[in-house]
Symmetry: C2
Subunit: 440 residues, 2 copies
């Protein structure tokens, strides 16, 4: 993409309304614009990041055997009356009356709708287990939306729902999602730690929040330092096999959010040099809730002996749009965003240091064409801004690699390669750029 | 994908509520379920088709130089008050009041919001031209939603908006979209014919509807038969070059919808043997509307001489979810859907005619693994339904190719290959299946 034809409205100044770094950087780097309180338009650069995150989330859901569908944003209130949540949900639910005076709502979550779909379609235990997910915009009418996409009103969420014949099968479904979540966050370049969460009246141990560590995180977390070093992507995973040993490695060590923290247990269980206290951001929540919805809504199947069985359910949420902000909170410096390679909107930015100079233009075009035909996503700053401004923009938008092309280097046949994360710069022969970045 | 693990709720009977063939087939083939009047959940098979269409639409928008972003579904009423459309829009607009009693709405279209975004970001003529598009769910509160996704209330639309410095440039933007639309429909396997549409108070010739031909189409259309034979995909297109000659080939021949039809002109301009009267479905609309929004909303740039210039705009819509229905209307037979290859949810269906038979199971597994590793999207019916039911399901869901694997054929080392569209069956050596379907 040529910057001269792109739509990347950079802000040079910090916007006054942004209180946290991710919000500031998302506005400055032209990722989003607020269209109403807590409601954002995703500009081209931000949308690319959002789609990259969505793709990784999807691949890991598919890999764990979940099946994608797509439920609508607008739901009928009658469905929520079946579960008893229509009255209970409170003011966060955006309630709507249509032209025929029917009560509708913008879905804040989808337990009722997916339960209705499964109730109408799955009749036999032989059609289980199933885990159905979708990635769809939700709306929660927060009383005080803030922190940009971290606590917006309209947000993109992946929510999966598992349906099983009994609690053992439901636990297996839960374990698959647990592992899929660990893999998802690791692929996004995040250190995510599962922490036990409230299960409400159902009890048991099948509720976890996934917290990523970020200095600017919203809450304090405490955990065993070894959790940080565990590498889920190094493991070979058989989702049909026994996932318990793996999960025990992730749940056997102390980890707790502020509100669940037990200082005495922390000191007793974790050696002093392994005690990690940090800041965290919640980026996912998985939850087993048994027959909470299947019972009132009559979602049953016929069992092997003709008996009627209420479905055992769980739900599994990842805040996809929230992750854009969370990743920035976890990965930035004073100059701007530092995108992990897996979600970067472009892998490479080319900086033309003297647009209009025939030799520089030609070298840039050559690199640009070479990278594009190597299948590398590249943003070419071909504008006539001055060099300092171009460097600042590239650092701000945080592409993993920058190629600086100027007349002085070119006279020697070289360009400068900059690694955004380390700040490392190296000189490179013009002809070596494509091969180097293909391998990078 | 193994059918035994998929979510494909087939209906054996025609649902009473469906009046048109695409609605019937979409319900029967498990593509969608109605979740409320005119609001559908997209089940896994339907979602795959929807995404395939969306991908083709996106590729052609990108190819024509449009840039993707994503605006939210919920908008502020204040924006629409700026353009004067809030009161004017009528009951089709889903109006919402949030918890702070602010007037909001579910966007039926996005002229106001995109104009606001551009107004706040583009200040100079040097940042033009721009064409920005998004693919997002819209809502129109139809008084009588019907015909399934063909006239639903919540629907997926691609809408693009062009911004230019003057009318000539706006015409060039319009022409690019005109050609991109022709390419899009051709890639979807459709015969689409552009027909002049009302321009309203603006006048001029820059408004076209794109109508696809389908026997069951909603309205009568009349055109010169040569339009059917023109092949846009055979043309080499330079979007930066002069598109006029190409567009004249598509607009120079008679074509009109029922309401614009002029029988006398039809007979005068079109030789008798070329007069085509058929049924059509509108699947896109492109429209130049000048400063209709930029003027009241103050979307201006500074021109080369420091003057203030109101932006010239156009909008370009494709009904993405509607196209799923429209394609079925154009491509089905008594047995079910016939998907064009480009949008088919899977390219191949494997029918195991005797699940449980070791040799048949092994042969199916081999074909399944071979196709998957060749990167071919395949649905394997590994269930223990009887053969007749499996054949009916495969014909109903309309995958381009079927591979029938049974004990009798296998004894001779062969399987049967069926082309869904032509009905043609051929025998094939087991080992030749992957290569044959890779080439198909």
């Amino acid at each position: 993409m040529r910057l001269s034809r792109y739509f990347l409205p950079i802000l040079r100044e910090n916007p006054a309304e942004a209180q946290i770094v991710s919000h500031r950087l998302m506005l400055r780097a032209g990722l989003v614009r607020q269209s109403a309180a807590g409601i954002y338009s995703w500009l081209p650069l931000g949308l690319k990041v959002l789609r990259n995150i969505e793709r990784i989330v999807r691949e890991e859901q598919d890999g764990a055997g979940a099946i994608e569908l797509l439920m609508p944003t607008i739901q009928s209130a009658d469905l929520w009356r079946e579960s008893g949540r229509y009255e209970a949900y409170g003011k966060e639910m955006l309630r709507i009356t249509d032209r025929h005076e029917r009560d509708m709502l913008f879905g804040p979550t989808n337990e009722e709708l997916i339960t209705a779909i499964v109730r109408d379609s799955i009749k036999s235990y032989r059609d289980l287990p199933r885990n159905l997910y979708h990635i769809q915009w939700k709306f929660r009418d927060e009383v005080r939306p803030r922190f940009g996409v971290m606590r917006g009103r309209e947000f993109l969420m992946k929510d999966a729902y598992s349906f099983d014949i009994d609690k053992d099968a439901a636990r297996r479904a839960y374990e698959k999602m647990f592992v899929a979540y660990l893999r998802t966050y690791a692929r996004l370049g995040l250190k995510a730690i599962p922490m036990a969460a409230d299960t409400g009246p159902i009890g048991g141990d099948l509720s976890h929040e996934f917290i990523i560590l970020a200095e600017t995180g919203e809450s304090a977390v405490f955990c065993h330092g070894d959790l940080i070093d565990q590498d889920i992507l190094g493991e070979t995973i058989d989702f049909e096999g026994d996932l318990k040993p793996l999960i025990e490695r992730w749940t056997g060590l102390y980890a707790a959010t502020d509100e669940k923290h037990d200082a005495a247990r922390f000191e007793a269980e974790v050696p002093a040099d392994k005690r990690l206290s940090a800041r965290g951001i919640e980026v996912g929540h998985i939850f087993y809730f048994g027959t909470k919805y299947s019972k009132p809504m009559g979602a049953v199947v016929t069992g092997p002996n003709g008996e009627t069985i209420e479905l055992e359910m769980g739900s599994y949420g990842i805040g996809v749009s929230r992750l854009v902000g969370a990743i920035i909170e976890a990965s930035h410096d004073d100059a701007g965003i530092i995108w992990p390679a897996s979600v970067a909107p472009f892998k490479v930015g080319i900086v033309n240091l003297k647009a209009g100079d025939a030799a520089v233009d030609a070298a840039c075009e050559k690199i640009y064409a070479g990278l594009e035909s190597a299948g590398i996503d590249v943003l070419y700053d071909d504008t006539d801004e001055r060099a300092g401004s171009k460097f600042a923009t590239m650092d701000l938008i945080g592409l993993p690699w920058q190629v600086h092309v100027g007349p002085r280097g070119l006279a020697k046949g070289i360009v400068e390669l900059k690694n955004r994360k380390t700040g490392e710069r190296s000189e490179l022969a013009l002809d070596a750029v494509v091969a180097t970045l293909t391998a990078a």
